[in-house]
Symmetry: C2
Subunit: 355 residues, 2 copies
């Protein structure tokens, strides 16, 4: 039996989580394995209920589970609260609390969805299959920050800070991932300006020596943001910091057509993991059966793979998604002419049936 | 007479500067105004000559000029030098020394170059005309940085820091620019995570009150990096920090097809200004008459407009560029079928003739 913390969150979170759980139920009966779900409130809904983005006792509960499946948190309703009371704080507490330092964000272009990419056909026809490996519990997100009066006026600051060991462990994740892929790591930094990037580059180059089969190249972040649009097929694994990874993984997800399709895994030591779709809470379409549940369903597949070592079950889900696409089923975000438009629930049901 | 510091720099820098100077010569004779050029070494060539990216006495000379026209600095040859000895240091010293806090980077899609954009025709057909207003002498580029041993291991850090007055003055530049454009400012930050962004958002919102005719919206940087690809026509003026501006302006420049076309102006108080193309030194094509001189020529036009208040002369240059494009002349970077392929020099000559 596997114990999973389930955090539906806000906006479309609960809807997409619902479908992912139905898929897990199907896996459960098919593969004869039991999942035990512990439901946890986090994000805006927890602020409304308890006055905090996530309660300490709930965080402790989450830590006791083998893995966490999260929908999405946040929304305009809570956007004007002070920093420590915002829904996003729940994400940071979960990431930091679970010590999941490696955020894996695959951006894959499905053949069937080529037309959804904003890029020209000549560019996407070369294929896009990128894995962004983003450091998740360091850098400016967690470094010293504050607001104070200096020389008679208010200033605010955040610190981008990385230690050798923090860089080493995330670099290893990237190189290990590249081993099972196309054997290429592009490390993205701003070493022409930032001290933290210079250390990053040094350490990554050193770690690379243990992976002689993997090709490593370094790229400045400004250039990377251009290259992703110009020729995404050049990338295999992108290794980068928390802040740059936030920006580049979103850009990568857009060029493959729909962030409604993209899953993510956040891993630490051992098998613990936090799994969530890349998309946000999409308050404008919440509760209308319009959201695409695929990103969350694929996040559940990643959970089976990385936390429970159930490769076959993960593949079964991924395959079921592909069949649904092949059969022409599309939620609104990925709809193109001559396809069959379905809602959140029907998409989930079809994927379940394909397992 | 106007005194201009001219910094050709490295790689293709000298070639593109050469053409811009020929264009200025033409303006000089046509508009009956004299330009006095002071040539300054900065970047890799200065490192080779003097052992420093820019000599203090040269920086002083530059400060005494009314405006600076710069080609590009840097290259792989100097990439492994320590931080304070890199060519990019010259840029930082120039920007900081001239106190040019406002970097204006227009990303405009020319009708003739629609096919060069990596984006689909449906997307670019709505037009792209974005002005990125990037803060240029603050934030992580200039904040406290260092490398030290903490808890027995090496760490490196950079500080993103902004004061109220720094944010105020750059916000004003953005709102003033929007007044003369489509009256919309999108301020980009990461206020859900960064303290500096929260202050940024507060101050920008406050400054906005003095511009009731301008529509202001706030966008997170990760979302902005997606929206630029998804629907660039939604943007008019993008106002952002030094680091985010570096990334987003490069992304914006790529979606309009060629960074060989894009100029920039960096302004401070009064009429002082630093003008440079957005592109780099392109060492792979340096010295081969392949570079596109248009970005530098248009930077010279911006110089005439902002530093010398010569709107007519600026327009004359911009118009001459448009005619050259309309007549089908293209350097390699913007070449598409059935156009006339020309080199750096010929492109410069054609533009001169069109003035
Ligand atoms: C919601 C926000 C705090 C978060 C982040 O910046 O990490 C999100 O953008 C993400 O990428 O998961
Ligand atoms: C060369 C580099 C230091 C510079 C920057 O980061 O500002 C460049 O990328 C730019 O945008 O002008």
């Amino acid at each position: 039996m596997h114990r999973i913390a389930v955090i539906p969150g806000d906006g479309i979170g609960p809807e997409v989580i619902e479908q992912a759980l139905l898929v897990l139920d199907k896996i459960s009966s098919k593969f004869g394995i039991k999942f035990d779900y512990i439901f946890i409130d986090a994000g805006g809904c927890a602020i409304d209920k308890y006055g905090v983005p996530i309660r300490d006792e709930d965080l402790e509960l989450v830590k006791k589970c083998e893995a966490t499946l999260l929908g999405a948190v946040g929304g305009p309703k809570w956007d004007n609260l002070p920093g420590n009371l915002r829904p996003e704080q729940a994400l940071l507490k979960l990431r930091g609390g679970l010590k999941v330092y490696a955020n894996l964000r695959p951006a894959v272009l499905y053949d069937e969805l080529k037309d959804s990419s904003p890029l020209k056909r000549e560019i996407v026809s070369k294929g896009i299959d990128i894995l962004v490996v983003r450091e998740l519990i360091g850098g400016m997100y967690f470094g010293p920050k504050g607001r104070e009066i200096r020389n008679g006026e208010e200033v605010a600051y955040d610190t981008e800070i990385y230690s050798v060991s923090e860089i080493e462990r995330i670099a290893k994740v990237a190189f290990e991932a590249a081993k099972k892929r196309r054997k290429k790591v592009t490390s993205v930094d701003k070493a022409n300006i930032l001290e933290s990037s210079r250390l990053w580059r040094e350490v990554v180059s050193r770690v690379a020596k243990d992976y002689p089969d993997i090709e490593l190249n370094h790229m400045y972040v400004d250039n990377a943001s251009m290259q992703l649009v110009k020729d995404p097929s050049q990338f295999d694994v992108i290794l980068t910091s928390n802040m740059f990874g936030d920006i580049l993984s979103d850009e990568a997800s857009m060029i493959v057509g729909s962030i409604g399709m993209l899953a993510s895994a956040s891993l630490g030591e051992g098998s613990i993991g936090l799994y969530e779709p890349i998309h946000g809470t999409a308050p404008d379409i919440a509760g209308q059966d319009l959201a695409n549940p695929v990103a969350t369903i694929l996040s559940a597949a990643m959970m089976l793979r990385y936390s429970f070592n159930m490769e076959d079950a993960a593949k079964a889900i991924e395959n079921a998604v592909k069949i649904a696409l092949k059969e022409g089923y599309r939620t609104r975000d990925i709809y193109t002419e001559n396809c069959k438009l379905v809602g959140t629930k029907q998409m989930g049901k079809i994927i379940c049936e394909n397992i």
